[in-house]
Structures are given as structure tokens and as C-alpha cells.
Amino acid sequence: MSQFQFYVAKKAGWFLVAFVIALALNFYLPRMIPGNPVDAIVSQMAAGGADAASMEAIYETYIQEFGLDKPLLLQFFAYVGNVFQGDLGTSFALYPADVRGLIADALPWTIALQLPAILVGWILGNALGAIAAYKGGWFDRGGFIASLFLSSMPYYAFAILLLYLVAVRWDLLPAAGGYSFGTEPSFSWSFITDAADHYWLPFLSLVLIFVGGQAIGMRSMAIYELSSDYVEFSRGVGISDSRIVRYIFRNAMLPQVTGLALSIGSLVGGALITEVVFSYPGIGSLLFGAIRQNDYPVIQGITLLIMATVLAANFLVDIAYGFIDPRIRAAQTGT
């Protein structure tokens, strides 16, 4: 088995372990709520004015879902079984809507926000960082301070400031929602432009902070590479500067790829709150509402989704790294 295959297998093993632990956490923690959660929830709903029939139905569904009469381990297996069949349970607050449906409605908005932010942010951030390291001078110094500030600012703080300045004070872009209040989502041109208007601020607040973080990291790596021995030797044998820059970029990229995995984790977390700030109809707002209403199935569904996605993203990034770094790809075990 080649070194690379061994690498993939090892990583896959670790991620499986992490996923099982994530599942266990997701299953067990909400069950730590003292008392019978169903009673508490149902009494809350009574206070909120729900009628007797739907309360009864929720009670039954929930006893079934939690399976509170069965031993814990069986409950866990039932839960895992459900998850793999795609059944994430039924919402409390929005009964009888099922969790999967609610998430499916909100997910596209979130993906549309986060995926481009990650891609654009990574490419742009690394490019800027490399250029700053290479050029130096005022471009480097000014950019460095800006990036330092941006990268230490939490996503939501920037979102709030952007929201206030651009949407409220200067009234350039809409302040909330994924689309104008009252309009129906459709594939018409007017809807798309409307949605685009609402897209800019949340997108920018994610992308700019991400760019700042990547740029700083890349700049440090590039500066470090610039002073390495192979740069010295390459210059000494006459290799052109542009080719040397290519070497530097390639070598500095490697640790950046590793860092990407962790940056994704923090972006996903930050994006949740950014959505809340902008009342953007994605997973974050769904989560916010669910927390306020103690809608545990929805909360659990979302946390599971986030954990699975971040783990999967980490796994893919690790594989990509093993592929790019020739030191891992090339060697055969036993050489």
C-alpha cells in the first residue's frame, strides 16, 4: 500500500471516530436536561396557548422519538438509525413540520453565503498576502495593519458595523432579510436582483474578515520562505525571480491549506451569528429561533449538520493536502 493510501486510510479512521463522538454528544447532551423534557416542553406550549389535540400528538411523537422508556444505548442506536435514514425528527414549535424540511428550506441560503465566501476569501486572501510579502513597502505595511485589525475582529462585530454604516446610516443596501419583505421567492429576474441586494452585506462581512485572516497567515509564511536557503541557492544559479516566486508560493501554500480546515470551522460558527444580525433566512436564523422556542429537535438537527459538514470539510482538506504535498504523495512505505 502506498504512503498516500495509508495516509487517506488513517485520516478516514480519525474522522469516523470524531463523527461517532459528535453523534454521541449530539444525542446525549440534550438529554441531560433535568426532569422529563417532554413535560416541560408541553407545559410551555400549554402556556403558549396550544390546543389539547396537538399537544397530545406532540407528546406521543416525542416520547417515541426520545424513547424515554427504553435504555439509553438503544435510544442511541435508534437515533443513529434515524439520522442515517435522513430522519431528523419533528419540530416542536412548528409542529408538524419535520426538521429535515425546515433545514432544507434554510440551507441553500446559508450555502450560497458561506461557500463563495470561503472560496473567494481563501484565494483573494492568500494572493494578497503573497503579494504583500513579495513587494513589501507601503503596500505591505498598510495592508498588514488592516489585515491585523480585520482578522482579530469577530465576524459578527464587523457585520454589525457594516450593517449600521451601510444600511442604516447611508442607506445604500437593505438592512435585513434575504429578500424584500412580502415578495415571494421565484426565479424571476427581479427577485434575483432583489436577493442580490440583500446578499452583499452579509457576504462582505464574512469575506473581508476571512481575507484578513488568510492574508496575514500567507504573508508570514511567504516571508519565512523568502529567506530560506533554497531561495538563496536558486538565485545563485541564475533562476529567474518569477520562477522563484512560484516556488515560494507553492511552498507557503502548504501550511495555509492546513489552516484552511480550521478557518472553515470558525467561519461556519461566525456565519451563524452574521445571519442573525442580518435576519438572513439561513441556518443561523433558524437556530436562533429554535433556541428561543426551546425547539430541541431543530437545534439538534442543526448542530448535527454543522458538525458533520465541518468534519467532512476537514477531511477533504486533509486529503487535498496529502495530495499536494509531494513529500506525502511520493514516498512508498518501506523505502
Binding site: L148, A157, L161, A176, G269, G270, I291
Partner: protein, 303 residues
Amino acid sequence: MSTVFPSAAPDAALDPDAKSSILGRLHRLATQFSPRFWFALALTLAVLFFGFVGPYLTGVEDPDQIVGGLYMDPSADAWLGTDNFGQDVFTQLIYGTRTSLIIGIIAGLVATFIGVVIGISAGFYGGIVEEALMGVTNVVITIPSIVVLILLSIAIDSRSIFAIAIIIGITSWPWTARAVRAQASSVRTREHVDLARLTGANTFSLMVFEVLPYMLSYIVMAFVLQLTSSILQEAALSMLGLGPSDSISLGVMLFWALLWESIRTGAWWAFVPPAIFLTLIAFALLLLQSSLDEVFNPRLRES
């Protein structure tokens, strides 16, 4: 010969005749560290002062006191206006900073402690112990802490300041563990450790007296990082509605501001100050952490 080179002014610090007056010595101390360090330190101290001394200076005991109508503009009575409950925003800011700092410090201490214990053990023992501990660390790092925090916050029955700090602490230690382990690994191979072992020191005293002292600088820097991330984590948790249920913190202020449409009504004083403060704290601490390097490593200093 010297016409070829730029003119060389004699370096005043090397001049043996320079008076070693108090002012002179202060000046030398001041220039030894970079302006970045002094700036970061000043900012951090200012924030600490605001958060811990502020409450006594305002003379107000209860930040939740209603002082006026809802979302009133800033005025001479209420420097930053009132929030959605009619409470004084400026007072809330002071107490909120204090809460955020307290949670951050406690969580930071917990996380640093756990991380140091795990890191030193892994680095010191090596072998299977190291593999196992680092395996656990890697798994904990990859599972995004915000979701674990959400789940934990729901599970605990009382969301006091202390409880929140604890759960933040127990989910954010992996970074410190990694950094500490790397350093401990290298310190373990130094001669003084072997020497101590030969004189019969047991493992515990080896770790505490031989390895630990060389890692103090790393531990301090790790603590600053943990502090920063803990403060921000608490704010994130609070903004989702899972913050401390009995106190006001910067994150909680933002939560209420978001929930009560302060943005749309233009009541900037309800949400901009806490957001700026959070940014300021994060920026100051991160800047401090990056310049602490030169405090601990005299070779990096300017002169």
C-alpha cells in the same frame, strides 16, 4: 573610504559618557520594547480599568435599573442613551465589560490549565501516552466548539457566569495543549532534565520543576490567546441567546439589541458600543500576544 558608505552617527546607547539618569533609564526601557507592545499593553490596561474599576466609579449599583424611556437618545444624563428596557447603556457597558472579562479570565484559566496538563504530559511521556493524548486533542479540535457549546448550554440547568465560563474552558483547550506539547517535547531532551532524573527526582517533580519553568513564556502567551477566544466565544453564545442568565455581558447586550430591532430603529447606541468594545478587546489582546514574543525573547528587541 568612508565617502562610499552612508555617514555613521555614533550610537548614543554605546556612549559611556551618557548620564544614567532616571529619565535616561526610563527612556532606554521604553525604547527597548516596540511601540506595538506599549500600545497593546496600554489598550489592554485601559479595558481592564474600564471593566473592573468602572463599576465603582459610576456609583451605580444595579445596571438593570430603569432610568428612562425605551431607546432614548444619548443625553447628559445617559451618556449612551437607554436600551430596549430603558436601562442606561453606558452603565450596562461597564458592567457588561466586567462580566465578559470575568468569564473570559475564568474560562481562560480553565482552558490553559487543562491544555498545559495535557500538553506537558504528552510531551514529557512521549510514546503511547503522547499519541493517545494528541489523538484526543485532534478530535476535540475538529469538532467545532460553537456547536458543542450550544449543546452544553442547553443541557445545563443554570446558566450562571461560572457555569458558562467552565463550559467554554473545557471546549477550548486543544490549542494550548498542542503548543505546550511541542515545547515540552523539546525541553524534555535537555540535559538538566536528565540530570534531575539521575538524582532520583520523581516524574511529577521533573515535570513541575524542570520542564515547566522553561515553558512559562509559552504558557503566558497561550493564556492570552485563550482569554481572547473565551471572551469572543461567550459573546457568540450570548448573541444566540445562550449567555449568562443572571448578568449582563457585552454579548447579552448585543442579543437584546438584535432581538428588539435597535438596528432598524437606528438606535445605534444600543449595539455599536458593545460591538466596538468586543473588537477593541480582541484587537488589544491579540496585539499584546504577538508582541509578548519580544518580551520573553530579548534577542528580538529593538536595540
